[in-house]
Symmetry: D2
Subunit: 350 residues, 4 copies
């Protein structure tokens, strides 16, 4: 059974990686490392994950001695050197940071100099559903997509050849901001509040531009912070290059995602609760009758499909395991989308 | 001192009208009526408003005997006949429903047959900041704008001659759905959730189209429900007909709202907490560098500026009182917009 | 593989029963019934459970044709006749209502006349950890304990012979109030609020009195409603009949719960997040130095250990399956309690 | 008009002091100081308070030049030296920290050495409703009570001669933990959670013991942290020394609080929403029929009556102003308590 280390397991994403790996029937969790909480058992920080391993300081050799592959959950910039050390020692790696998501020019324009540029060319973007599945299977290094990018790309992918422009109004829960205590993550800043932020350029825009580059349409991307813990909704507004009916749009999504285990097509706008603690992206696509604009709503759990469980989905592929193993709920067949949720058809603010 | 009745005071909007009127230094609250809670004192239903009047069944004659003006907070359809009775008896009326907001053709296309069509022509749209101030002063009947329309119109008004299209992604707290207990307003449906609804056509679109009609650009409008009580954010995306800089946009808003007591221009995206329990609309407008698209974020309290306090603002004008009297916080001068909130510049989901 | 029906699967508790049974490796979910939503598929009401069975009207014969056992999640009073029909047809039953929890005299004093009194004597109280495990294994009918009673009894059980009195200040999330939309469950009533209710006598007191009857000490029980979805905390204050040290108390709990798979002893007060969506009860017991009073804090998920997953735990026992099968997280050994959560040692309102 | 400085205005309590003083019709806000945010305007940190003064570093002489009195909102320990400097310069002071609440022996046992012990004897405990009103009028230095102590003392005061013991199970919103960003105040730690903390001795116990000292009964005090912003509920359980009926208890509270402007007696358990952003303490007292135990529930807004507005209430008294001036809502007469809230009589978790 492949032996897995989680590097950076004290943060929200890394801790969840450890929890998912530990429960995974075909993976063995052998080590968890942390930069500042070494010596604590992981369940002292996260009782609910019930992972009783002790956090150890990162040492590439000690990790390589025990593990066949690693999930790395460091902040961007800090991840690249660690990934490089693990790759040198032959471990397969899924990196959850931004460090290996972008081409070098794009990375450096967005984040500054890259610490391991030679590895950039070898990394594969870890979103299997938009054409990377086979490349991920062959990869030694996979870059887990950003949480916002995951939802937005799954929403826009089927429309990429038909869009004149796209606006992504994205809303995330606070866990996306990470475990660090700041003014922004203080309960009193968030409760009973909602606001946009980084409206003049969030770094996840780079991922959207890169992955939809062939299409060449302009993308507006605005993140908002919501008073919820886990959950991310991307509301996307696309002007089509030619008139599309709601049925046309529905068919585009069926064609794109038929058989995808983790994309669930819904007949009404999804709520983030519908996908909480799953690896699913639940999507509803339609057309606004008054304007002909295509509307797509994609909901994920930002810590799961937006980070940790998607990394394990990638790891399953890299290790030759069934893609959905150990990841819980599977989408209903794309050919038989879930019907309108009765709970959501009543009228609200009128 | 003008004597005021609140008709339909058992709902969220009407109850707040009563509370604001009762604390108003130049108005006297003389009656509160309700359809189903008559006999209860208002503070039995809403302890926090501390209005100790007893709710009485509606009787137009009894109201007219005591009151000079009325705020009517009935559901659409139910409001029109009541308003007609009060107008016949000479009372000035601000109606909070949709019944007098739209031209007849537009109303009937959206809501069905109108119960008092002859009054439609005499009503004034109650948003003083978009050119209706003088008409409101002269009016006997004012239609309080919808909560979504209030925020969206204040966001789009300065851009009305420069917009090629507009997308309004609006997010509202649950109080906007009213006091009725439904599956939608159940705590368990809302907590840790967010979803779009009525994506194929919310009725507030009609108000946007009507009020921005001269402009003739297409408007996409999508409401979302958030796990907050009071608060509404309209995130607006406008393609300008000619290139605009952020400074251009800022100037347009300064020009439009200089001296407005209840529009507060901010240098960073507003949070709905910033305007909670005020009559303010806090607005930030800028340009996305990557696309040139104009972004406008307008935050209100849906029950205040989106309903009750705006109705009292209208009433102040109708009665010749100072527009801002009894309404609490006033915007900083539009010429000296509030600077960036330090609390909101830290980085969030990255 | 035993075939299971869930009767009353449209409510929160019943729907979760269905979800747990469907994922259970040794049980087969064969039918879900509902009183008012028959004809809908269960995932139309609860997308996140992803149970695609169609709700059918209850028919005892049709259920008995297909199922070996049933979980019944009807309101009290409505459950008894349904349970009687299923027992007549030979099905093993776990009933989640109050109908079979109490001796007849106590039931009728609390709830009124009983619809199936002859069955009362045959039912077993479904809390394995307080001495009922063997009886549950032999039972044809088990009464799932109330959510409040589950947490309070697990907190008080080890102290039953040493208590002079006990005060239970209990706090529950809103899901405990059920799916019905009422003024109480309206988001706007609950958000940013907390209040006690039924302070002059909640019906779960009867369960506490009955199960701790031998002890004969007076029990004060006060429930509170919190702005959370799932989670219940019982804070218990016990005057001991003789002086006890914190170490004494700790030992009492270790003795009582050593080896229990679903009682987790913690060295700091538990949060309800620590047990969210698990069958665990996490308990911390200590002594207040200034007064010598024993303090016990017991956290559960009210829908899981307080209702649905505990019912499946009972069902596992009744069917001869491993007690913990299909129920997810298991407590760390009672002999090695989880240490203080670092996340909870910082100072709060000072 | 008395000129007021707020020292330590960048924290939650100090900022609210500034906002209340600025709106106060008989006080003039002349200075706001801060330790680490000097140079910012207060509305840059707290847009919603709309106080446009610039925060300045603290300088006792500069404050004394301009102000007649000060509200000091520093952390305990840091407050005493600042208060001493202001008192030396002749300013009247209300201190919101713990530094002047306790007798010296009790202070030093709880907090360590005191920095200005000679001032301790001259300070008055700032809870007018429990017998300190006249002393506050004469005082040069008043110590604002702790938030928990305020609610608990108002709940227990009328019972002080009839209690054999008392248990205070208190629940606070997160704002009580202050503006500092910590693991405890991180949104993700708090949302969908509740837990007790400091169960072996919170420092507010000292205030309870001191103020109820004559009574000599043991007091158990346990704070809990709730996922709300502002609000504090003290649920109190008192064993009476002699049998009391609910009517007896009601009369005790009427006698104790008749005419009190800020204690509101209610006929049902209060919710913290009922007092949000008011200086009110809303109290319900009754007897549990099954045990004869007296139950008292006291709700306040921890930042208002638990800190800032109570400090202004004290200041009003010290300056000879009407006690309730500038403080908003007033309690209904204690002789005519507000009736049962209809919104809270429905049944919840059963």
């Amino acid at each position: 059974m492949p032996r897995i280390a989680v590097v950076g397991a004290a943060g929200f994403g890394g801790a969840l990686c450890a929890a998912i790996v530990e429960r995974h029937p075909s993976l063995e969790l052998v080590a968890v490392t942390a930069r500042s909480d070494a010596g604590l058992r992981l369940d002292q920080i996260y009782p609910r994950h019930r992972v009783r391993l002790e956090l150890e300081p990162f040492d590439a050799d000690r990790v390589a001695d025990r593990a066949d592959a690693a999930l790395v959950a460091y902040p961007h910039g800090a991840a690249a050197p660690v990934v490089a050390q693990l790759r040198e020692r032959g471990l397969k790696v899924v990196d959850l940071s931004a460090d290996f998501r972008l081409e070098r020019v794009r990375y450096e324009a967005t984040y500054g100099p890259h610490a391991a540029p030679t590895l950039l060319g070898a990394s594969v973007y870890g979103l299997p559903e938009i054409g990377y599945r086979e490349a991920i299977r062959q990869a030694g290094l996979v870059a887990g997509p950003g949480c916002y990018a995951t939802a937005a790309l799954l929403a826009l992918w089927p429309l990429r050849e038909l869009a004149a422009d796209a606006i992504v109004d994205a809303k995330s829960g606070v866990s996306g901001a990470g475990r660090e205590a700041t003014g922004t993550t203080h309960f009193v800043s968030v409760a009973e509040n909602v606001n946009a932020y980084k409206v003049e350029g969030h770094r996840h825009r780079s991922e959207l531009e890169q992955e939809l580059a062939g299409a060449g349409f302009p993308i507006t991307f605005t993140p908002h912070l919501l008073p919820i813990d886990q959950g991310l909704l991307a509301s996307c507004y696309v002007s089509p290059v030619r008139e599309l009916s709601a049925a046309d749009v529905r068919q585009l999504f069926l064609d794109a995602y038929a058989g995808e285990p983790f994309v669930e097509l819904a007949e009404a706008p999804p709520g983030v609760r519908d996908v909480r603690e799953t690896n699913l992206c639940r999507v509803h696509a339609t057309v606004e009758p008054a304007t002909g604009r295509v509307l797509v709503f994609a909901a994920i759990d930002n810590l799961w499909k937006g980070a940790a469980s998607q990394a394990v989905q990638d790891l399953n592929l890299m290790l030759g395991l069934p893609e959905a193993e150990g990841l819980g709920a599977i989408a209903a067949s794309a050919a038989a989308p879930a019907p309108v949720s009765a709970a959501r058809t009543e009228e609200v603010p009128s």
